[in-house]
Symmetry: C3
Subunit: 153 residues, 3 copies
């Protein structure tokens, strides 16, 4: 399998885990000390360190999912991810950088469907023993966000 196919496979499994509401599996797509960050294109362009959401380890990610499951303050909703235009660049023998476009549809409980978010994933991926994100930065095109941005993107 090519590195391109391996990376696209990782992105695809990640998308389906979130879309199937298998949120408990989400941290497993990352290495133990991975960082995950949701930012806006505007803040990234200005170099402002103001992420919408930030996790510095897999433990933090697990906490976040636990809170989500127990707090349960948000209106039930599901996502549908589309991922496209995946480019990869070798960093060293064990790592690649990846950029990919994404679009997320949000489906509310009443069946209402909206284009929720679009943007790009900027990833650093450790390839072996199986591909995992060391860093995933989700750069959202719009700064308009729900106050309760609940589910990871």
């Amino acid at each position: 399998m090519s590195i391109q196919a391996a990376v696209e496979g990782l992105h695809a499994r990640y998308a389906h885990a979130l879309d199937d509401d298998r949120l408990e599996e989400w941290p497993d797509f990352f290495t133990e000390n991975a960082t995950y960050r949701i930012a806006t294109a505007e803040n990234e362009a200005r170099g402002l360190p103001l992420p919408v959401l930030s996790c510095d380890s897999r433990a933090m990610m697990r906490d976040r999912i636990q809170s989500l499951r127990h707090a349960n303050i948000y209106e039930p909703q599901r996502y549908r991810h589309m991922v496209s235009s995946v480019l990869i660049k070798e960093i060293d023998k064990t790592r690649v950088a990846s950029v990919a476009n994404f679009l997320v549809i949000r489906i509310m409980q009443d069946g209402g469907t909206t284009l929720f978010a679009s943007g790009k994933y900027l990833d650093r991926i450790l390839l072996a023993p199986e591909p995992k994100y060391e860093e995933r930065v989700v750069v959202c095109d719009s700064r308009r966000f729900d106050t309760l941005l609940a589910i990871p993107l």
Copy 2:
């Protein structure tokens, strides 16, 4: 060619046939006794056997397209399919299961464009002599559907 590429090619040819209004070619993407079903995520989760649309053979699919062409009761419309995040799993030496996300844009005759449907394709694919669907279940995210869901998804 890898099995992944063969499956993605099948999904792509299927999408373009529908988007180009080559509906008569639609049954040819299936094996003779294939099943095709459009369902909602809600009903699938509840195990309810209430498909929005169901065909149990290629002959039924041909009938459906004939009716569509002759009845012609629906407002002229076209689709644009986006397919993403294709995952495959070997069933046996001749078959694979595939899951893929999709999104369909609908274009009405006056040029109005809407996000018509999103969801996932759950497929069982026979690989040889050329890849064809033995089963395609279209699980739509929203239960909100037009009463006249005319064109296959």
Copy 3:
């Protein structure tokens, strides 16, 4: 690398260049005498030679980008491209034809986001020394367009 992967890589680099506002790089995705055309599905179906936009050489493309940068009459906006369902067909040993579906999200400066355009790319691609478009026809599904269609699609 397979030809399929090479073509998908070209489409992906093209999309990211536009989405990152690296418009000056846009002509470099084409051969020197390439043609680029934005048309509507309606006019294409009728055989009407009325493109929304047309460039007959890389020089014309460079001019267009220069005008865009200097005239600066349009409201600041960014795009996000999604590309899907890429099919290729060998023309001869050095060229392939490619068809792909696309969808473009437009992000205005106030953060407002809309589905701006959808359609298909019809391309003729020269493979070596590196893949470049000899011809790119952007067939848009809707004839509804902003009077100021500024950025290439």
